[in-house]
Amino acid sequence: MTDTLLQFRTVTKRFISGDSSLIILEGIDFGLEEGSSVAITGKSGCGKSTFLNIAGALDRPSEGSVLFKGKDLGGMGDRELSRFRNRHVGFVFQSHILLEDFSALENVCVPAMIRGAMRKEVTARATELLDRVGLAQRLHHKPGKLSGGERQRVAICRALMNSPDLIIADEPTGSLDEDSSDAIENLLFDLVKEEGRTLLMVTHDMELASRCSTVYLLHNRSLQGIS
């Protein structure tokens, strides 16, 4: 029997601007099992990223609650949420944002540095991850010297660095060409599987979504199961 890693309980998110209020998510109930991979699809602007932000503790719901391993994230202060993100969540963004002044190796090391890990141990783990994604020869290259695909591989390694329970990916192949997309997709799914992590992904790409164990459609502010 698998445990529920992340649970949304009637989550509503609304943005208030002046007198008007815009509801993005409404009464969403959602459960993410440990070791599973879930894709959320939907049209642009339907609230997919908002959903991910709440799942990754970057944002708080307006109503309802989010539980991680049974613990309510709403009760955590900013400091606790930062610690939670550092230990339990790895993010992969569409625009493969890296620290431009840092080498590939240093970029991967940062989450562990924030955690306060030993330097030697951090470097070994980051080197191993980059080696696994085929960047062993590019450890000391700055992001400016890397291709889009290489940058995204560095971003995936960074997301896995602290061995988080949950990998959150927001359109991970959205800004890559077809060849690079295929390579990154394979890499992401392989690594998540090898490391035994849980994947929560947002994508427009139905083919990519279909590789996940469960696919949801975010439509009219609520989730609908597709497969």
Partner: protein, 404 residues
């Protein structure tokens, strides 16, 4: 080895190796500006303190002493110098008069002094030409300042006439002849233009001791804060009962108050300069944050706390401030220690405005005000930087990292 993230980030923010040319120039510009602010402040402080101390010392040693005991008889011979608090005691007479030469007149303060009045401490405050003051026949001997001599157009060996200004309206005003036996130059125009010395025997003839005689005491540095106790010692040693006396800051009240006011105004100006520098450092911090918005958002996403980022940026900016300050103070002290050369050159230029300044004083570096300025600079900068860094709290990873 564990390296705290804040420290790691400070290293990255400050390390020349990891930065773009623009970032390097920004840090250099910031440190340079702080240095350029600190150099004149330290120099001004050394100049101000040195000049005020120098002027005060000249007034004390040449005009008034630390304590003036108003007692008509000679006390100086009865004071025991074995008491280490007293440096010298001199019986003097003083009054006011107008001095005449063939060409000009000058209003002066005439001070009657004994032969041994110019001890080592007093001699160090002026330069002499001529011979010691001694009464020769019926004619008084005087020592003019080079300033008054130049104003009157007289030299050593010439004669001048005095019109003694009496203390009471009933006294007769009479002219007196005097030989110019010596000239002195204290280096301070304001003092030189009003003070002349006369042999005490002659001076006692023109200025009755009952009203004009006093004993002038110089004390050692350590006793300055407790001059009353020196007077008490003299009273008990001589059995004179309670003596009437005044201290240097009382009889030069205007000069003393001017110094205090000048110092306060100058420190206020310093504070304004430091505030402007602090605002500039704050703007540098703001610029650093603006250029690091995406990095900060990324750090936050990866779990860095606002506090750790705040501390990292604060430490980086304050390190640059401290570095600039240290360099500035170092250069300021370096130039300050050579101030005598600069002042000597300034004195030789003969610029009219400089005559009201003392341009010959020992350069003394007072660490306390310098450290106070540094501490104030650090406090102001840390406050302005903290204001700028509050923006870190508002940086949201959601807006900067995601595209929907």
């Amino acid at each position: 080895m564990k390296i705290p993230f804040s420290l790691f980030l400070v290293g990255r923010l400050l390390s020349v190796r990891f930065q773009s040319r623009y970032d390097r120039m920004r840090l250099l510009r910031s440190a340079l500006l702080i240095s350029l602010v600190m150099i004149p402040l330290v120099l001004a402080l050394i100049f101000m303190d040195g000049m005020m101390d120098g002027i005060t010392e000249k007034y004390i040693t040449l005009q008034d002493g630390h304590i003036q005991i108003e007692f008509p008889e000679r006390l100086d011979e009865r004071i025991h110098f074995s008491d280490s608090s007293i440096l010298s005691a001199d019986y003097v007479v003083s009054g006011f008069g107008i001095v005449y030469s063939r060409e000009a007149t000058a209003e002066v303060r005439i001070k009657g002094i004994g032969e041994d009045y110019f001890n080592e401490r007093r001699s160090s405050q002026l330069s002499f030409q001529g011979s010691a003051l001694q009464k020769e026949g019926a004619v008084a001997s005087v020592m003019l300042s080079t300033t008054v001599a130049s104003q009157l157009g007289v030299q050593i060996g010439d004669r001048v006439a005095f019109m003694i200004v009496p203390d009471s309206s009933s006294a007769v005003v009479r002219p007196v002849l005097a030989n110019v036996k010596a000239l002195y130059d204290s280096g301070y125009h304001e003092l030189d233009s009003s003070l002349i010395f006369m042999d005490i025997e002659s001076a006692l003839r023109y200025f009755p001791k009952e009203k004009n005689a006093r004993t002038e005491i110089l004390v050692h540095e350590g006793t300055l804060s407790d001059l009353a106790s020196v007077v008490t010692q003299i009273e008990s040693a001589n059995g004179t009962g309670t003596l009437s006396y005044a201290t240097w800051d009382e009889f030069n009240g205007t000069v003393y108050r001017n110094f205090v006011t000048s110092r306060q105004v100058i420190l206020l100006v310093f504070l304004m300069i430091l505030l402007v520098a602090g605002v500039y450092v704050g703007s540098i911090a703001q610029e650093m944050i603006q250029d690091s918005l995406q990095s900060i958002a990324l750090y936050k996403t990866m779990g860095a706390t606002t506090l750790s980022l705040f501390l990292a940026f604060l430490t980086a900016v304050m390190t640059v401030t401290l570095l600039g300050m240290t360099v500035g103070v170092g250069i300021g002290l370096g130039i300050g220690s050579q101030l005598a050369v600069v002042l000597s050159w300034l004195a030789k230029t003969g610029l009219p405005g400089l005559q009201y300044y003392l341009l010959d004083f020992p350069v003394v570096i007072s660490w306390r005000p310098i450290l106070t300025i540094c501490a104030t600079m650090l406090v102001i900068c840390s406050v302005t930087v903290q204001f700028s860094l509050h923006r870190i709290r508002k940086i949201s990873p959601l807006e900067l990292l995601q595209q929907d």
